[in-house]
Amino acid sequence: MSYLRLKAFSLPRTLGILENYLFILPAVAIFSIFYVYPFYEIFNLSLHDWNGISLTRQFIGLGNFKELAQDKIWWSSIWHAGYITFIALTFQNALAFALALACDQDIRMRKFYRIVFYIPPVLSEVVVGLIWQWILYSGMQDGQHIGLLNYFLNWVGMPHLVHNWLSDPKTALTCVAIVHSWKGFGWGFIILLAGLQTIDRQLYEAARVDGANSWTMFRHVTIPMMIPVLLVVVILTILGSMQVFVLVLSMVGQGLVYHTEVPVTRILASMTGTNQFGYACAQGIVFGLLLMVISFIQIKISKNTKQA
């Protein structure tokens, strides 16, 4: 018994264990400082009323979350992000898939198209926003439209379509969503093209021998083989689109009433506009949880699809 105890408290062994822990200490410290502590601090702040500067914070429990539950502007901002995501899921991914399919064929200048389609994603969102702001500009000088789109519409004889694109609540958010899709389709294009190129060509040969036409091959070979890749693209699109904000800020600034608000711009407004740091943290937590739930659902669907 005493021998066992002695063994348990053996100094060299204890030192060895401590030494091992010491070696993982930097990794644990980095993880704690940059992940655990910020998460804790954000959660802690969300339970306080704080202007971001004062040395004192007032503990209000779940007050910020209760207020958030009734904040119509916040929930409409989530709806707006959902709308942008819907456009991205449909328009952006359909475009990406169509172009990936085209570039997967034996066409001329294939490499050139790949480069061109990948240019928008590598451009800064601020630059893209400013370029499109100029394209959609609605001002005039000496009776001439200055914005490229309105100028073009006028030039091709469709002046009735000339519009105040970014200052009309009916079109502003859709414009942002389309530009977001334009900027983002390159990512989907590259991933989908990579996916298409992994499909065994023999499957197509076999289908052709069985008398399948292009549409049948697309439906029964391409689509089933691409489902895992499509799911990845869908997950990335949803996460990226829900968090869009730089483009919104660069295209419509502080917004058009509340019609172009998205969750991140609301968090920013709470933090820097109205100095409600605790409320902003509560918004961040709720939004983060929402994205986590969406991701979990998608992972579940992905697993089920793979099993099927």
């Binding site: 030494e19 010491l22 070696f23 930097p26 202007n51 971001g52 500067i53 004062s54 040395l55 500009y137 609605s138 001002g139 005039m140 000088q141 009776g143 200055i146 105040n164 970014l166 200052s167 009309d168 609540p169 502003a172 419509v252 600034g253 502080q254 917004g255 058009l256 009433v257 509340y258 407004a269 820097t272 506009g273 109205t274 100095n275």
Partner: protein
């Protein structure tokens, strides 16, 4: 070998935690003024030559990012020796309350108030907390204005002439008549960067002062007068009238001010609402632009039209800076006549030192003439809750796009005001 690595790691961690020694002959200043960066560097070199003290100006733009950086630096207790607080007076009060800002009163009052007397009182007022201030800050002067500014309306002389308008409008009705004349010749009327909500808020505030006077505005902020009061509805109706008269250039509702400045400089609109800093901007964009400054045309004769103005940019001194006295000495030097005249000449901003006014361009003189008619939220006794301001400003936007009526906006703003008051009581 393992032990050597372990020892090195511990040493590295300890070294990383050690405090770095502060160079006591160098002043670090964080600023956001892109247009003044070069002039600041020139002055810093001059100051080093004269005193041997090195001054490092670090530029962080745009101002929104700067604002966030300052707040983050305050939270991390790493503020520089001199910095600016680009925010509401309540935020400045929070900085002072937390011990981040030095009280400069003693320095301003020394030698029978020699330093204080050289500066525009309106500019100093922004940085001053008076007896019985709502923030309960110890009365005193906490910041140094390096220039003054005010926000007025500007008119394009060429475009007004094109529409047959001889003199700029003095009343709101005259303004509407001018808009009609301008519309007839296809010239857009008023452009402004109301996508930056504070600018629309400033415009509304001008008319609030003109329609109901300061006392009633403050009573509203205290919660004694509701936003549904007919005078507030009259203020909101200004925007409805501008919309109905076709006075606003396309996109004004959510245009960034830099684009509004571009539109005015390139003669795409006859009027604009902008600050005195625009003189520099317009000079760069179109040196041949012929324009003048005017007060927003008054609606009522009962109260004077008050415009936003006062200190343009101010610096404060970090209270825990080891070179606090040197920082104060530098700011004193920066606001002396010669340095102020140099800054005004180089950057086309109004100097905060009144003795430097003699050397400013004529258009700036037009701005300087109405400094007595300036006011600003930072000098008001009470400030409105930021959420109420947001609702009010967004309401203005919704009126401009024809989505809501002034009456509906007033009801919504009042609803938020009551909610915030209840919250404050709790």
């Amino acid at each position: 070998m393992k032990r050597v690595a372990l020892f090195s790691l511990i040493l590295l961690v300890c070294a990383g935690c050690a405090k770095t020694a502060k160079d006591t002959n160098t002043l670090h200043i964080w600023h956001w003024m892109t247009d003044r960066d070069e002039a600041f560097s020139t002055l810093a070199a001059k100051y080093e030559q004269e005193t041997g003290v090195k001054v490092v100006f670090e530029l962080y733009a745009p101002s929104e990012s700067y604002q966030q950086k300052i707040i983050a630096a305050a939270q991390a207790r790493v503020l520089p020796d001199i910095f600016g607080i680009l925010d509401k007076k309540s935020i400045m009060a929070a900085f002072i309350e937390s011990g981040f800002v030095a009280d400069l009163t003693e320095h301003f009052k020394a030698n029978d108030g020699a330093w204080e007397k050289t500066l525009f009182p309106k500019a100093l007022a922004v940085n001053t907390f008076t007896d019985g201030n709502v923030s309960k800050i110890k009365p005193g002067i906490y910041g140094v204005p390096i220039d003054v500014t005010n926000i007025q309306m500007l008119y394009n002389k060429t475009l007004l002439e094109k529409a047959g308008i001889k003199t700029p409008p003095k009343t709101f009705n005259e303004f509407l008549a001018d808009i009609e004349a301008l519309n007839r010749v296809g010239v857009p009327g008023l452009v402004s960067g109301w996508g930056e909500l504070w600018l629309a808020d400033a415009f509304a505030s001008n008319y609030a002062f003109n329609i109901m006077g300061e006392e009633k505005i403050m009573a509203t902020y205290r919660g004694e007068v509701p936003y549904t009061d007919p005078d507030w509805i009259k203020v909101l109706k200004v925007f409805a009238t501008l919309r109905e008269a076709g006075a606003l250039a396309e996109g004004t509702v959510n245009k960034a001010n830099k684009y509004a400045e571009q539109d005015f400089a390139l003669q795409r609109a006859a009027f604009t609402f902008n600050g005195s800093w625009c003189v520099n901007v317009y000079h760069d964009m179109n040196p041949d632009l012929k324009y003048g400054a005017m007060l927003p045309p008054a609606i009522s004769a009962d109260h004077p039209m008050m415009i936003w103005g006062g200190a343009g940019s101010s610096f404060v001194v970090n209270n825990s800076s080891p070179v606090k006295e040197k920082a104060i000495a530098f700011l004193k030097w920066l606001t002396e006549k010669d340095q102020q005249a140099f800054l005004a000449e180089e950057t086309k901003n109004l100097p905060s030192n009144r003795n430097a006014l003699s050397s400013i361009p004529s258009i700036l003189s037009e701005f300087a003439q109405v400094m007595d008619q300036t006011t600003h939220p930072t000098v008001w006794e009470y400030n409105e809750d930021p959420l109420v301001i947001e609702a009010f400003d967004k309401g203005i936007q919704s009126i401009i796009i024809g989505e809501t009526t002034p009456e509906d906006v007033a009801v919504e703003v009042q609803r938020i005001k009551e909610r915030q008051m209840k919250k404050a009581k709790r």
